[in-house]
């Protein structure tokens, strides 16, 4: 089974890349192959290797957490398309504590991080409650909450001169104590954006793995996800599982927001949120990561790294005159093919089932 999952992901990636290559050839046949080479690793083989690698590792951290957020919900049979909203709320909480919480001293970043988790969790709780008690489909409610979250956060930021930098229409820089420590990593990786975030993300991955596969709680969540009727029949409280799953999923997305916005970034002023009327794409990237990683925590780490890798590659492809949107097309194609790879797998299972009359 595990091999099958891995192979279907690799097949999905290859099909997505072939599709992307075709698009690139149509757009410009001369830059297509150099572009592909750049994307698949050429960008990293550079004199700035260490810094680029450090940036890549940094970007992988939030990606792992959004992937875990979506993947965790998948395991319980829920489609958390609201990871973006939860991420946005987490971001807001992190920045708020990062600016106002100066009294917290060196622990400020920890509190900012925890605040993000709590806000993300609350934003996940809402669709969970709606699903459990009013049977509102979580896709509908969480899409709505994405927009409600974004506009609420935008309003709160714009209405607060301590948070909002009017000139750049961005949030202000957070307090120095609010940055996730970079320790020696930053020097090792040649002043890149890397910080302890990646270790936090991997630590959380291990916890999620443990919860899902080693505890009765995880057993119950997966039972509800695979067959809610059988779960109910065996005495599992289905609603409780649904709600908790959404809360944890939201917390993970919120943590991802903190991981990204509590970072110094490659420039020392840190990552700031640009106030605009568009949803952040981080949560949607999480869907791709979860699908490609087949919702397994370790698969998600690999796929988060891979998707960050080609996203970074796409960024550097621009030097060849290729539009960065191509990367989005390729990622979209990979999502498509990975969904199809699962279909193929499901078909196989169906045929196997049919053979047992």
């Amino acid at each position: 089974m595990k091999n099958q999952a891995f192979i279907s992901s690799v097949v999905a990636i290859l099909l997505g890349l072939i599709f992307g290559l075709i698009i690139m050839i149509i757009a410009n046949p001369f830059t297509a192959f150099p572009g592909l080479l750049t994307m698949m690793g050429g960008w990293l083989a550079h004199q700035d290797f260490l810094r680029r690698l450090g940036d890549l590792i940094f970007l992988t951290g939030p990606m792992i957490l959004t992937g875990l957020s979506v993947g965790f919900a998948f395991k319980t049979g829920l489609f958390n398309i609201g990871a973006t909203g939860q991420y946005t709320l987490g971001m807001f909480a992190a920045i708020f504590v990062g600016i106002y919480g100066t009294f917290l001293g060196p622990t400020q970043w920890i509190f900012a991080f925890l605040a993000a988790i709590i806000f993300g969790a609350l934003w996940g709780l809402l669709p969970g409650l709606l699903k459990a008690y009013f049977n509102v489909h979580e896709v509908i409610s969480s899409i709505m909450l994405n927009y409600i979250g974004m506009y609420t956060v935008n309003n709160l930021i714009q209405g607060d001169a301590n948070l909002f930098n009017v000139a750049f229409s961005k949030t202000k820089a957070i307090n120095l104590n609010a940055y996730i420590p970079t320790t020696i990593l930053r020097d090792v990786f040649d002043r890149s954006a890397i910080d302890l975030g990646i270790l936090i993300a991997i630590g959380i991955t291990l916890i999620i793995y443990f919860v899902l596969y080693k505890t009765t709680f995880g057993f119950e969540l997966q039972a509800v996800g695979s067959n809610r009727f059988a779960a109910k029949y065996s005495g599992i409280k289905e609603n409780r599982s649904l709600i908790l799953s959404m809360v944890i999923s939201g917390a993970l997305a919120g943590a991802a927001g903190a991981l990204y916005f509590l970072a110094k970034g490659s420039v020392n002023s840190g990552n700031q949120y640009s106030v605009g009327n568009e949803l952040l794409t981080a949560g949607f990237d999480g869907i791709a990561v979860a699908l490609l990683g087949q919702s397994h925590p370790f698969g998600i780490v690999l796929s988060a790294f891979f998707i960050s890798f080609i996203q970074r590659g796409g960024y550097f492809m621009q030097t060849l005159g290729i539009k960065v949107e191509i990367i989005d097309v390729i990622i979209a194609a990979i999502i498509y093919t990975s969904a199809m790879a699962m279909l193929v797998k499901d078909k196989l299972i169906k045929i196997l089932k049919r053979k047992q009359p």
Binding site: F217, F219, Y233, G235, Q356
Partner: protein, 510 residues
């Protein structure tokens, strides 16, 4: 058998159809003569339905050919089959519930007048057909409002309206009461008289003896022979079907009742959708060491009764007492832990998580208890031990033991796994619903012996079943449900199948 021509109307020659890992039909040949009723007998999984699906164009065989009147025909889909005059009544009817009988019959072959459906013309034709073949129907009624027997007649008229003359019936009696079965047998004989050729799938020997001219027996995907029905006996057929001698009688020890284990009083459940009292003021008791059989036609409230007792539905009024304790408002888990085991009606929907490994299903009722978890952490070793024990004790066969994907098990073994899990929970009350549905003779025999063992061990068993034979064979007492009520309480030693059937259909002995 009087054939009108020398050539069979349909001959299937050397049909082979395999699915990954299993050969469902292995070089099967079968001749259907014009105007005969040809029965196809075999256990579940013998390949009957596959063979008929090949004939109806649902499956393409890897090898073999189909001839009509000696000429090779290619049937790629049901439309082709229809063109060659082949119609099929599936075990689960293919009818649109909210459409009228008329519209269901017309669906796909609507006669038109300009852009409109000419319902008047169709109605006349259909009424004429129903008279010709003595198929009583109400053309304007909606499917959801008519009886299962009438729904089946609608399916038959669908074929006749399409001018099919080769009719396939897939286990047509599975959903009928004894009276309806007799009615169907008359209908089949009528159809034969009118020159139709009929293929009749069944695993019930008495029906086959009553209705067919010839019978082809399948076993494990192979044809083991075609016999003239008048030259054979049920015992001979069943030996052919199973491949060994089977005992029809099982030994049932003297009853030894204890105290009341399950007591249901004035239980009522109102469907939120139809606002009908699906379970209507039901009261009964089950003692330790007793098997109480609940008979009834599907859809008369038995399923809901089971869900109410299990705690999956909440009653509108009434009480449920389990081992003397009022559990009406307690959770499923509370009841399970107190002493209720439940073999659910739908083993795929409720009984198992098909995509999880077998061990996880075998521990579904115990994983939350010591020593299977410690401080919320699952103790895999203990769970594996538990699963291995159940596997061995109940002879559950699977490809990779307890690690097998539950979906990969055969239906019989899946059911054995559920029964093993439930019996292993050692609960005082066992709720068994349709426990042998869709299983082969061997598995049924085994499950029946397990039920009697439970009875001997002093467990109270509430057995809900559509199979009258099963109810008569195992029960110490029988109640019959009709439209949500208990309409009769009977002693199996003093009653007959016919009498139960009468009560099941809402009648009363005159």
């Amino acid at each position: 058998m009087e054939a009108k021509t020398n050539l069979p109307i349909i001959s299937m020659e050397g049909i082979t159809k395999s699915f990954p890992g299993v050969i469902a039909n292995d070089n099967i040949s079968l001749n259907l003569m014009e105007g005969e009723i040809h029965a196809l007998l075999g256990e579940n999984g013998a390949g009957k339905s596959t063979l008929m699906s090949v004939l109806f164009g649902l499956y393409t065989p890897e090898s073999g050919q189909i001839k009509k009147h000696g000429e090779i025909i290619k049937i790629k889909n049901p439309n082709d089959a229809n063109r060659f005059g082949i119609g099929m009544v599936h075990q689960h009817f293919k009818l649109v519930d909210v459409f009228t009988v008329l519209d269901n019959i017309l669906l796909g072959v609507e006669p038109t007048k300009g852009p409109f459906i000419d319902r008047q013309l169709a109605k006349k034709e259909i009424i004429a057909l129903s008279k010709q073949y003595k198929l009583a129907i109400d053309v304007d009624a909606k499917i959801e409002d008519i009886s299962v027997g009438m729904q089946q007649r609608v399916e038959i008229l669908k074929m006749l309206y399409r001018k099919n003359n080769i009719l396939i019936f897939d286990e047509p009696t599975a959903v009928l009461t004894p009276q309806e079965i007799e009615e169907l047998i008359k209908i089949l004989k009528n159809l034969k008289k009118e020159g139709k050729s009929i293929l009749f799938i069944s695993h019930k020997l008495n029906e086959i003896m009553a209705v067919s001219d010839r019978v082809t027996v399948l076993r494990k995907g192979k044809s083991v022979g075609t016999l003239f029905t008048k030259d054979t006996t049920p015992q001979a057929l069943s030996n052919l079907m199973v491949g060994r001698d089977i005992t029809f009688e099982i030994e049932k020890l003297q009853a030894n009742f204890g105290g009341i284990a399950l007591e249901v009083a004035n239980l009522t459940f109102i469907s939120t959708r139809t606002k009908k009292k699906v379970v209507n003021d039901i009261s009964f008791q089950v003692k330790k060491g007793e098997i109480l059989g609940v008979a009834g036609i599907e859809g008369n409230g038995q399923s809901e009764l089971a869900y109410l007792i299990a705690g999956l539905l909440k009653p509108d009024s009434g009480t449920i007492r389990l081992l003397g304790e009022n559990v009406t408002n307690h959770s499923v888990r509370y009841r399970n832990d107190l002493g209720l085991a439940h073999i659910p009606e739908d083993r795929h929907k409720f009984g198992l998580i098909l995509d999880h490994p077998l061990y996880s299903n075998l521990s579904l009722k115990k994983y939350h208890k010591q020593p299977f978890q410690k401080h919320g952490i699952i103790q895999k070793k203990k769970i594996f031990q538990l699963a291995e024990t159940i596997l061995e004790r109940f002879d559950v066969r699977s490809g990779k033991g307890i690690q097998s994907l539950t979906r990969s098990l055969s239906g019989g073994n899946q059911q054995k796994a559920i029964i093993g899990r439930e019996i292993d929970s050692n609960a005082d009350v066992l709720l068994a619903v349709q426990m042998t549905r869709g299983l082969d003779v061997g598995a049924i025999e085994y499950i029946h012996s397990q039920m009697l063992k439970q009875r001997e061990e002093g467990k109270a068993v509430l057995m809900i079943s559509l199979e009258l034979e099963e109810i008569l064979k195992l029960s110490d007492r029988i109640i019959v449900m009709y439209e949500g009520r208990i309409v009769a309480e009977l002693n199996p030693k003093e009653t007959t199948k016919e009498l139960i059937g009468l009560y099941m259909a809402g009648g009363k002995p005159s």
